[in-house]
Assembly symmetry: C2
Homo-oligomer: 421 residues x 2
Amino acid sequence: MALSYELRCRECGKRYDNAPLSICDECFSPLEVVVDLDAARADFTREKIAAGPTSMWRYKALLPVPDDYVPPTPAGWTPLLKAPRLAQRIGATNLYIKNDAVCLPTLSFKDRVVSVALANAQIFGFDTVGCSSTGNLANAVAAQAARLGLKTYILVPADLEAAKILNTQVYGANLVRIDGNYDHVNRLCSQIADRFNWGFVNVNLRPYYAEGSKTVGYEIAEQLGWRLPDNVVVPMAGGSLITKIRKAFKELIALGLVEDKPVRFFGAQATGCSPISTAVKTGADHIEPQRPSTIARSLAIGNPADGVYATRCIRESGGWAEDVSDVEIVSAIQELAETEGVFTETAGGVTTAVTARLYAHGRIKPDELTVTCITGNGLKTTDALNGCYETQRAVRPRLTDFEEYLEEGHQELAFGGVNVR
Amino acid sequence: MALSYELRCRECGKRYDNAPLSICDECFSPLEVVVDLDAARADFTREKIAAGPTSMWRYKALLPVPDDYVPPTPAGWTPLLKAPRLAQRIGATNLYIKNDAVCLPTLSFKDRVVSVALANAQIFGFDTVGCSSTGNLANAVAAQAARLGLKTYILVPADLEAAKILNTQVYGANLVRIDGNYDHVNRLCSQIADRFNWGFVNVNLRPYYAEGSKTVGYEIAEQLGWRLPDNVVVPMAGGSLITKIRKAFKELIALGLVEDKPVRFFGAQATGCSPISTAVKTGADHIEPQRPSTIARSLAIGNPADGVYATRCIRESGGWAEDVSDVEIVSAIQELAETEGVFTETAGGVTTAVTARLYAHGRIKPDELTVTCITGNGLKTTDALNGCYETQRAVRPRLTDFEEYLEEGHQELAFGGVNVR
């Protein structure tokens, strides 16, 4: 059966048959999947999508898999939450959260990209798959590969958070701790993929993998009633996600599913690893690599593969990028949880803090329809909140003791201003 | 507007108007919500449900909320996964997992009951809500109440898992550690609810709360293509969930949405807290309270409120109950993750281990359509896996070092039988 997608060089446009390739052999630029929109048109209608599964696979016609592909695991289709209480705190009036903190099956948006990558790993016949990862990707690959019965090697920086390591090992994956940062790990994975002929989702399968991120954009548009927002705020690690949300919006416009309108893209990074936001703020047209030092480990990519494309996406759209300190990240995690009941990992703290600043600086107007992307779950980075909450004394199980405890608490609040929470 | 539900005593049948009440003032038996099925018939059709939201609120017509209730948070609608690889390991051929490890918004089935309870807390005008909890309920109440802007008091046993405590505090809830086990905490909450006029979801709002569990049953039936399974395996803490899944199935039969057929109910407990399974196995018609001692904290209720009803449900259906050791729980957590990519908390380890035993003992036949209920996420009880995985040495980021590392690993496997995973 003829496939309705192929690989193409992002820069020179050279076309390739589908294969586990990520770099153009002519100009050494990255390859990208191009889907034949005309071929997809008949299957990508509002009605057919609504009748599809309640997962990201409702958009299968625009994803690089064969028409008859049967997805083994539900993934994506996360809530788009109206966020009135957070909005009030940060001076917004029309704010939504795209909540991939609860993305199936492993609680980050990486489940989307891994679903598409592993489908292609199977098509290409790999019996061993893997990735280089700052954590969320490791979890997603390990879990989804387990379900498929694939052998798995996951390479991570040696100092990764405990919960992310456990949440990889439990699936039976071979977890290899590398003495270096993400950029070291990533380079090593390229060599390993070549040497052993393994399918590394974010290396030799990267063009397919990256297409999975488009589903965030499709979902935002569908959940807004098939219309585009004014602004999107997106965390940036490798820089791919923000470009793929834009690609998704463009495809929806081309297919006539949403009305064409300008959407501004805003990028969020931690100051301790801010190569993309720095490029945007200084007007540079290249990315100056950085040595990451931030609690936002899942964004700690000092030499982002898609940094230049992310910068272009932001600039061309009239958006902006910001970066925030580790202290701001922790406060923002708490603020998001307290106002909207969403517990995010450090990356979501970055996005929330940056969103607040964009309103404060007037870069986003209060009434513009703005979507802020939360990409991972707080249970994966609990260490970030160490020391934020006092352990209260245990109370005896009697009503009088409880009443006494309440009075103590109120006194503390009244006299010392200590928050007893 | 007249409501199509009311409270009724489970034993004497006395009817009550809707109110924050849980005990019959005539016979001191528990009250239950009864929904008028005839009134719901027109809105509870396969077509209307399919056109509803992709959350448990698609079944609103059979839940105790007014017709015009607008739910603030998506909850439920979790995957029903075919589990062929787990099935093969335990001698089954037709096994499904109902995966509430990824239930929205806080990753346990408690989100379902809390959604219904807080809807009613608002209807009754409570400005402060709370619960007694072994952890998952605390998370669900704290998160959902935060989004509603309600003041929250959560009472837990003082020795609860760290992740469950943090995942309550982060939402801004007042977390009160009680020097006692769940049963002590629960009794205290009854007194507090009366004294302060607070809405405790599992105390004075319990009849409404419990109805939320029916949505597990509705979803199983709908996801099986509107038919009932042969067997359901359900973890038991207070014992309510298993009875509510049965209630859901009965309602679906009464409304003609599924064909009537016998379904057998199987209960799962940890041996360290097994008052209900003990009653089932010994044929007792009452529950002998136990002092809990198990790593399955979320099931550690020694004096289960609905224990007698759970026992009856199991017995009347021709099912059975089993309990498993802490060691078996840990192995089952790993087995489920390795085969199906589902990382569950200790309670899911209980259910998985019990399911395996039911097949091994011939209580469930291999080809019977069996659904096993996973009710919470593994990231909440990571301590249970402490010591299960060795920390491997960090490898330098060079191909030769990686090759050396692989060889070491294979040698270990070959000579010592040490699992290098």
